[in-house]
Every structure is written in C-alpha cells, then in structure tokens.
C-alpha cells in the first residue's frame, strides 16, 4: 500500500506516540475532554445559565440556638397560619391547607386549587380561608365550603369581626364583609378608591378592624360607621398587621418597615436589616418577632430589634406562635445560592444558584474551540509565512521576516488584552487576540527548516524536473516540516487554552459564553470564592488537565521532530 507522502509523514509520529506512556494518557484525557465538549448538552444536568429556584413548604422552628429549619410541609409555599384554642391551620399555594394533628400536620382537602393567602380562626371556632380568584372558604364541620364572591379578586387578608361576620381585603383595594351564616358577601366602599392593594387585616381591641396595604395605606373599618383612612407614619408598602389582645400591635412592611403600637401611638422602629418583612407577631408582654425575605428573622429584645441568625435563604411569609412553639413559615421560590455539591447539583451552585457542574461541562466547548481554532489559525499563518520566506528568499523574505521581528517586540499578554478591549469582547476577537502574535514563533522555526531543506538534493531534483514552486513547496518541502508543524500545533493549543482562560478570568472573554476562566472570574468577582471551594477547584483542574494532556502529546511529538532526543530517551 502506498500512502501519499504527507500521510506517511503523519503516520510516523502516531506510531511513536503510542509507545510513549505519557502521550497515551494525554490522548485519553484529551479525548475525554473533547467528548465532554461535543456532548455537553447531553452531559449537563441543568441549563448552565438557569438560575435555579425552588419552592418549598418551609418551616423554621425556634429552638434554644436560634431558628432552625424543620421538616418541610411539601413542595408548595406556605402563605399564612393562625392558631386559637389549641388548633392551628396553615394555608399555602394551590389549595394547600394543613391542620395540626398532635405533634404533626395533616393535609386537609378543600374544594379549590387556587392559591390561599390568609386564614383566620374565629372566636367560636369558625374558620375562614381567602385566596386568589375571589376564593372564600368557610369551615363546615370537617370540610370546607366555598362562599361565592362578587368578583374574582385576589384576596390577601381576612379577620373576624364577630362570631358570624368577617372582613376580607384584597389586592384591588377590595374590602368585603362576609356574613358566614347567610353565605353572602357585601362590598364595603374604601375611602381611597384608587385600586391600591390591601395586604392584611386584623381585629383591634375596640372591635374595629385595621387593614394595611401598599404606600403606607391604613384603613380602619368600624362595623357601625364604615371605613376611614388612618395614618401610621410610613409611606412604605405594608405587608402584615398583627394586634395582640391587649392592644399592642405590629405592622411589618417593605424595606425593613416596623411600625409598633404601644398604647395608642404608632412608632417607626429602626430595623437591623433593610430587606422586606412579610409577617410580624407581638404580645402584650413586650415580646415581638418579625420575619421576611431571604430568611430574615428579627426579635425585639425590649429596646431594639435584633437580627437573629438563621442559616436559611428561604422567604418567610407567616408566623405561627402557639405558646412556646414559635414557627416561621414560607417559602415561595428562592434561589439555591452557593449550595455545596449534592445529588441535585454535583459541583454545587454559584452565587446566582446556577449549576456549576453543567457550567464546567459547557466550559470545555469554548476552551477547545479557542484552543484548536486559534492554534490552527496560528499554524496556518506561521507555516505559510515560514515556507514562503524560506523558499523564495530575497525581498519577500526580508519583508516577511521584518514583520515577524516587529511582532517579536510586542509582549503577548498585554497586547491580547488591549486588542479585546479595543474591539469589545467576542469569540472572534478572542481567537484573533490569542493567535495574532503567536504565529511569529512558527514562522521563524519553519523558515529555518525550509532554508536547509531547499538545498537538499530532492528539492533540487524536483526543480530540475520542472516542478512548479507551489508544488515543490507544498508537496516536497512541506511533508518534511510536518513533524515540526504538529509539534507547534500541540504546544499552541495549550498556550491558546491558557490565553483564553486568562482573558476570561479578567472578564474579557466572549460575553454570555461559559468558559472555565469565566467561572473563576465570577467566583472571584462575587467575593464568595474563599468559602465556596466547589466553585474554584473544578475549572482550574480542568484547565490544567486539558493543557497538561496537550503538553504530553506535544512532548512525544518533539521526539519525532527532533530524532536526537530519541537516541537515549
């Protein structure tokens, strides 16, 4: 079998490489990484860019060492809870109702799957639940019956006026008086009438009710005289109101809003955190607690609000205080931030809850793309310049090699950075930045080889036989520099991968692409890299092994290109 000369030239190195153990390891590892890049979408467990959020019926229990996460109540968020006379009810999204049963909770079925926003247990054991789509549920023995609503309003809060009537408030400034005996709803006129959302309502000690809502809105409802506007001293969105039997009251709201009533005057307390508070509880003995977004729990120590340690990021929406049992409930969708490796996220998650395993898998694509494309470009330019300069000599050579000289005067790394900064990061620019200078070495090496080759007898013979310059260059000389070309190719693949990682690490990689350097860039930028080892280690190890495997291959190619090393090695 006769192979064309250039194929024969290529087969030689392969044979040698198979004998070199390090090179074989290198090829295996590289093969593995290439497979990873090709099948990245199949191999990843998540979309690498997706912010992973989960919803959970979270329960936090106050123990001696602060608030700790307890057993979850299913996958749906819990929105509100109420307790009276030894019984307790929790309501949540999509028709979730839990009732206390001894030490545990049992799920109760209700005739709706609408989101339930509020629950109130009445003075004589009656219980009402309100929710989205004008849902009003009245407890009826062991079951629940729906009371028809005059409109599909998003109801946010409910409170009992007396044993038979209750007041529900809603997101469209609805104030509905519910007559439970008759099963009817009467709409009460609001003093504002601008459609501002009312978020919560509670029964005050004097028998009137107080509802709070957005923009600091507070509306008092007197069963005898109707509604009137009240000022609590805040224009923030108010989320929740709780009034203790003795008259102490607490209103919680956005941006750490804490309005406390001691006697008759409302005071605005300074909050130790400025994030949103969603629920509060106060009693007449000076105990109070408020919970909110991102797992915030604050307790009143008699003089000030103190932020309590919780290790949870969950959004808390309700409090259930029953004697000494203090529970905080949530959690609507929250971000799984900086989670250590787990069965769900093999390499953990980053600061935005994105799956790091999938990011690392996808990162191989850019690394190899830039590595191989860049190196091919470099070798293509370098080899041709070297061939032409070495073969033609004369003025062509002078011009080409002076250009190479000038390029030798440019420091690589700073120049690549500047190039990317000048043209705005994109894949093309990154590849160009990586390859625009590197071909200088290849050109010099090839040229010096060609210089000696062109004087060899077989080239002279070809010339005498009338072969064209192109033919001599590419069919006679080129196969002889092939080993060198392959060697350079391998080395430059390694250099390019590191260069790309470096650019990405400095934030100059192609935007919206996932690369190993970019993962490390994010890790450092977020400030979390000191604790999140699962964020730092994998991309670095991947870069290292990829480049190392390429270097192993190149080392054995070097033996091919330079037979003298073979002598004793």
């Amino acid at each position: 079998m006769t192979l064309p000369p250039f194929l024969r030239a290529a087969a030689g190195p392969l044979k040698l490489m198979v004998q070199d153990r390090l090179a074989v390891i290198g090829m295996c590892v590289l093969g593995f990484i290439i497979a990873m890049a090709l099948f990245a979408p199949l191999l990843s467990t998540h979309d690498p860019r997706q912010i992973n959020e989960i919803e959970d019926g979270s329960v936090l229990l106050r123990g001696p060492d602060g608030w700790a996460l307890s057993d979850s109540l299913g996958p749906l968020a819990l929105n509100d809870a109420d307790t009276a006379a030894g019984e307790a009810l929790i309501v949540g999204r999509e028709g979730t109702v839990w009732a206390r049963d001894g030490d545990g909770w049992t799920r109760r079925s209700v005739p709706t799957d609408a989101d339930l926003n509020a629950v109130a247990i009445g003075p004589q054991g009656g219980a009402l639940i309100v929710g989205a789509g004008g849902t009003i549920l009245l407890r009826d023995g062991d079951g629940w019956t729906a009371i028809p609503a005059p409109a599909p309003a998003e109801l946010r809060g409910v409170a009992w006026i007396d044993a038979a009537t209750a007041l529900a408030v809603g997101a469209g400034e609805e104030i509905w008086r519910i007559d439970t005996a008759a099963g009817t709803v009467e709409e009460v006129t609001s003093p504002v009438g601008r459609g501002f959302s009312l978020n919560s309502v509670a029964r005050d000690v004097d028998g009137t009710l107080l509802a709070v809502g957005v923009r600091g809105l507070a509306i008092r409802y007197d069963p005898d005289t109707g509604t009137s506007l009240e000022r609590l001293g805040s224009s923030r969105d108010l989320n929740h109101i709780h009034i203790a039997p003795g008259g102490a009251a607490l209103v919680t709201g956005e941006r750490g809003t804490l309005l406390r009533r001691d006697g008759t005057d409302w005071t605005t307390d300074p909050a130790p955190d400025t994030r949103a508070l969603r629920a509060g509880w106060i009693d007449d003995d000076g105990r109070a607690v408020a919970v909110g977004r991102n797992g915030i729990v604050m307790e009143w120590d008699g003089a000030a609000w103190v932020l309590v340690d919780t290790e949870s990021e969950r959004h808390l929406r309700a409090l259930l205080i029953d004697g000494d049992r203090w529970m905080a409930l949530g959690s609507d969708r929250f971000v799984v931030r900086l989670a250590p490796p787990s069965a769900e996220h093999w390499f953990g998650t980053d600061h935005l809850g994105r799956d790091l395993y999938s990011q690392n898998v996808h990162g191989s694509q850019i690394a190899l793309l830039v590595g191989f494309l860049g190196a091919t470009l470099v070798v293509l330019i370098g080899t041709n310049v070297g061939l032409i300069a070495g073969y033609y000599r004369g003025r062509t050579e002078t011009v080409l090699m002076r250009t190479v000289d000038v390029m030798y005067g440019i420091p690589f790394e700073p120049f690549a950075l500047i190039l990317v900064l000048l043209f705005q990061p994109s894949l093309l620019i990154v590849i160009l930045a990586v390859s625009l200078l590197t071909w200088r070495t290849v050109a010099r090496l090839i040229r010096s080889q060609v210089l000696s080759l062109r004087e060899r007898p077989f080239v002279k013979a070809a010339r005498v036989a009338g072969a064209s310059d192109l033919r001599i260059m590419y069919l006679h000389i080129f196969p002889n520099v092939m080993p060198l070309v392959f060697l350079e190719l391998a080395i430059i693949v390694g250099v390019s991968i590191i260069a790309e990682a470096t650019l990405s690490f400095l934030g100059l990689g192609p935007p919206q692409s996932i690369s190993w350097g970019g993962i490390l860039h994010d890790a450092r930028l977020s400030g979390a890299w000191r604790t999140a080892w699962w964020w730092n280690l994998p991309p670095g190890i991947l870069i290292m092994t990829t480049v190392l495997s390429v270097f192993f291959i190149s080392r054995s190619l070097e033996v091919v290109a330079n037979p003298r090393l073979r002598a004793r090695g």
């Binding site: 002076r402 790394e413 490390l520 290292m544 270097f551």
Partner: protein, 325 residues
C-alpha cells in the same frame, strides 16, 4: 559582513520595530478607544466643559499633529501627563515597572536556579520514575493558569492557615519614604513570598525541560564519549562538560523570559493586588488614558526588543556557527 556592521544593522532594525509598534499603538488607541472624557458626564459635565477638558489633554488638535508631537516627545523620553492621574507619565511607568521587575526577576532567578540543575539531573536519570515525575510536575505548573494557582495559594496560605499576606506589597500604612527604604524590608519580602512562588513555579518548567532535552542531545556528541572513554567520573562529565555545552539554549530562553517580564503577568498582579505595570496598562486602556497606555506599552516593547537584541548578540559571541547574515 563584519560583526560590527551586523550589530549596527540589528540595532537599527530594533529601532525600526519600536517605531512601527509606537505608530500602530498610537492609531489603534485613538481609533479604537472611547473619548477619555466620556466618564466625566456622570460627574455632571456638559459638552462645552468636556471640550475644554479635551483641549487641556491636547485632543482637539488634528490627529497628525498629535502623532508627530507624540513621536518627537517620545524620542526625548517625554511621555506627557497622564489624563487620569494628572502626573507625569514617566514617573508612574518607572514606579510600576520597578514593582513588576522586582517580582518577576526574583521569580525568574529562582525558577532558573532550580530548573537548570534539576533539568540536568533529570537528564542523567532519563527514563527513570524520577525523570517522569520531574517532567510531570514541571509541566503541571506550566499547564495550570497562574490566576488559579494564585487563588488556591491564597486560600491555603492566606485564608486557611493565615500565615502569609495575600495582597499588596507591604503592610499599610508605613513610615518609610523613597523607593529603596520601602523595598528593603522584611515586610516587603513577606508580601512577595506568595506571588514570587506562583510565578517561579510557573516558569520552572521551561528551564527544566530545555535543560533536560539539550543535555540529552549533548550526550550524543563525540566529546562526551571521549570524556567517558577517558574514564572521567560521571558527575564531572555531567556538570563540567555536558552542562556547560547545554547552557546556551537555556540562556537564550532566560533572556527572552526577562524581556517579556516587563509585560509582567497581569493575572498575578491582579490576583495578588501587586501594583505593577501589567495592571496599570489594563487600567490605562480601560480609562482611555492614552499617554499612560502608550508609554507603558512602549516600555514593555522596548524591553522585549532589547533583550531579543541581546540574545542575538549573545549568539554571535557564544556560538561561532551563527553567520552574520
């Protein structure tokens, strides 16, 4: 061609290269970068006020005027005033260059000081497990990006064990004034340990492998066989005869590495907050500080070019086989 005319020719070529690079940079920056006064808008400057600042910077002149002015000044070593620092560019560049060079030179000296003898030794133990392990370690540090090894080193020595400082060049504040009093302190050394270590480990691979490979080549040469035939001890053959002859490629690589050192290792300077030239040029380009960016880059280029020139001269002196073509 005599050696003398060869040298003159090479020097002229070097100057030519520098001029081309300077010109290229000048136009690349002016064309590619945004207006340096753009950021002043967020400080509340209106267009007329910005024009006044541009005039102060000499940017209202026609481009060719700016170019000739830049060249004539650069020839006299005058690089103008930095837009953002409002201080002479030369002072800033020299200061940063000194910081970079201290870091890089120490690291390079360590890398070559260890790498060269180690490479020679590995060549002697060629094919053994030690050889493979040596190559493996050398290549491993060459393959791991420095920003990553740096971060890991900070995690281990700075955050975990907290025995080494992780950023900057010295403990702030301090009483010393002047360059040398600030540098010749234990505190400075202490701060330099981690970055120097990271750079040195990275550079270790190339002297090690080059030395090993050239040694293997040298062993094939006749004079080694002769020495061996004479019955000289192997150790003498290794260090007196073989190593001496294998040094040239290593020295060449050393000179090239030092030339590139001025460019610094931007990532190391970033990771360890080292106030070097590499980081400065990144900032200068980001803020469109033309004078500073140009001068920094020119200094780097001049360094590379002169060290390359040195290599060529070295070759003509050390290796008689090189012809002055």
């Amino acid at each position: 061609m005599t050696r003398r005319t060869y040298l003159i020719k090479r020097v002229l070529q070097a100057i030519f290269s520098l001029w081309i690079i300077a010109t290229l940079l000048f136009f690349l920056f002016r064309m590619g970068l945004p207006d340096p006064t753009a950021a002043l808008i967020t400080e509340g400057l209106n267009p007329e006020q910005r024009a006044a600042v541009r005039a102060q910077f000499g940017l209202e002149e026609p481009l060719w005027r700016q170019y000739t002015l830049f060249l004539t000044n650069a020839v006299q070593g005058e690089f103008g005033t930095s837009f953002s620092y409002r201080a002479p560019v030369a002072d800033i560049v020299w200061d940063r260059l000194a910081n970079t060079m201290i870091l890089m030179l120490v690291a390079i000296v360590i890398a070559y000081g260890i790498g060269v003898p180690l490479g020679a030794w590995l060549s002697w133990r060629r094919g053994s497990r030690t050889d493979t392990a040596g190559i493996f370690v050398g290549l491993m540090f060459r393959s791991a990006p420095m920003f990553w090894t740096g971060m890991i080193a900070i995690l281990i020595f700075g955050v975990g064990l907290s025995i080494l400082p992780t950023s900057g060049m010295r403990t702030l504040p301090y009483d010393a004034t002047g360059f040398w009093p600030k540098v010749l302190t234990l505190d400075f050394l202490w701060h330099a340990v981690l970055p120097v270590m990271i750079v040195a480990l990275y550079y270790l691979g190339s002297p090690l492998l080059i030395m090993r490979n050239t040694m293997l080549e040298v062993y094939g040469e006749d004079f080694i066989e002769m020495a061996r035939a004479k019955g000289l001890p192997e150790r003498d053959i290794l260090y007196r005869h073989a190593a001496r002859n294998a040094l040239l490629p290593v020295v060449t690589q050393l000179a090239v590495t030092i030339g590139l050192a001025a460019g610094g290792q931007v990532v190391v300077e970033v990771v360890f907050s080292w106030p070097g030239l590499g980081r400065e040029i990144l900032n200068a380009v980001r803020t469109s500080d033309f004078p500073l960016a140009q001068a920094s880059f020119l200094v780097m280029a001049a360094f590379v070019i002169s060290l390359n020139l040195l290599v060529d001269i070295l070759y003509t002196t050390l290796d008689p086989r090189v012809s002055f073509r």
